[in-house]
Amino acid sequence: MESKSGANEQVVEQANIAHSILKTPSTFSQYKALLAKDIRQEFRTREMLTSMGIYALLVLIIFGVAFSQMPSSYEIMPISGGLIWALIVFTSLLGLNRSFSHEKEEGSLQGILLVPLDRAVIFLSKATSNLLFLAIVELITIPLFYFFFLSSEIVADTLWLAVIPIIVGTVGIAGIGTLLATITMSTRGKDVLLAVLFIPLSYPLLFACVSATSAAIVGDSMMMSNYISSVALAAGYDVVMILVSWLLYDYVVSA
């Protein structure tokens, strides 16, 4: 009897040791590892940041050319919200296309899919890295936009409020864009297809964000009355779309 129970204890102990060695990493550490991989790769190659940054600068130059024949006293303030969002959308399209191209080319996505992890973690880490790179590019280009187009204007005191819709919009773009980039990376004509799917899908978000950003820049009291509801709707879009993308990501990435 005694020897048997002793043997049992030994087995339990061994199992405990085995468990502590082969402990499955927590979801959060998986997420951190995947995110760190993206960031490390970006800081070694600087592929996405440089291409997005230069592209954004070129879009700004095109805006400048487009306004070159305008009379000197034209009002740029009401349209500057829209221009900022045009800049963000075009730049993010470029970045989103890039975000999965090397995963596909180097076959690293195959490796990630072999690891027994929740597919939603891949979505979250990829969306976070896209958000991070997009935010870095915005931090440079939106002040540049101000410098080029708004520095001679008298901007409203509420200008800082434009930060909120820009953050909310960027989160939404990164979320829905990550799902769509995963879809389009394994199709023919992926660059064009991403734009074809992404722009109509992000329309409600753009509409709300342009409304809020313009209101903050102009500071007109009538426009400001829409500000709260616009930001709330943009945030609602973010919540709904990111939740749905999260749910559906498993199917898309495994297909």
Partner: protein, 254 residues
């Protein structure tokens, strides 16, 4: 792969009935609209022909609004139904993702095709109305833009389908995009309604409808539903026969 695709049966027979019924009802509603349904009275009394446009419910309207209003009996049912069919695209997409049966993918594809037909009809009727009423073929008015986005989403759905070769992958991607597109359509409808600056007429704001108007509208809605179902079912039948034909051809080659 699909040797026993079912063709025929009660549903396909019903499709023919639905097509005929749909045609009859839409024609009936068309005739009703131009015969016994009254021209909006309230507005006529407010604005005599020689007076400048009056403001009604925040809208500037003239007498011209009255007769062009007839297009509404066609435009509104088609618009509602096109969005309704997109709901089925999303539903079939969810069914496909759960069951992994290509039958649901075919259903979703055909539903989206029918939806595209209705969306194009909505766009066309809407354009005629704006051209006449607002003197512009296109206005960047939220509801019009929403509908344009809806059109682009549905066209994008087919572009996506064509860009994927593997049938399994194509079905998954199309299902996911179908679900997203439906949610997006609903969200953009809501957002453009809540954030103001809308010039598009809304029934309740215009002071409601008279009983005869409601009747013509309901007849047209039912006609369009039957028509939509008839087209949908006939197209499904055609697609299934095609699949059957392909399998027979393959077997003959072997």
């Amino acid at each position: 792969m699909n040797e026993n695709v079912k063709v025929g049966g009660i549903l396909d027979q019903l499709a023919n009935v639905a097509l005929v019924l749909g045609l009859l009802l839409t024609t009936a509603s068309f005739i009703l609209t131009f015969t016994i349904v009254p021209v909006p009275q309230s507005n006529l009394n407010v604005v005599p022909a020689d007076q400048p446009p009056a403001e009604i419910g925040g809208l500037y309207v003239t007498n011209a609004l009255m007769f062009s209003q007839k297009i509404f009996y066609f435009h509104m049912p088609v618009a509602v139904i096109s969005l309704g069919i997109l709901f089925f695209t999303a539903l079939f997409g969810i069914m496909f993702l759960i069951k992994r049966d290509h039958r649901w993918d075919l259903n979703a594809k055909v539903a989206t095709e029918v939806s595209l037909v209705f969306i194009l009809m909505t766009m066309a009727t809407g354009e005629f109305w704006t051209a006449y009423e607002w003197n512009a073929w296109w206005v960047w008015e939220p509801r019009l833009t929403t509908y344009l986005i809806l059109t682009l989403l549905v066209i994008g759905y087919f572009i996506l389908r064509n860009a994927v070769d593997d049938p399994e992958r194509r079905a998954v991607f199309a299902s996911v995009f179908g679900i997203l597109a439906f949610i997006d359509a609903v969200v953009s409808l809501l957002i453009t309604r809540i954030i103001p600056s809308s010039r598009h007429p809304v029934i309740t704001r215009e002071g409601g409808l008279e009983p005869l108007m409601v009747m013509a509208l309901v007849v047209c809605i039912f006609g369009m539903i039957f028509l939509a179902y008839g087209i949908y079912r006939t197209r499904i039948r055609e697609q299934r026969l095609r699949i059957r034909l392909d399998t027979i051809k393959e077997r003959l080659e072997d």
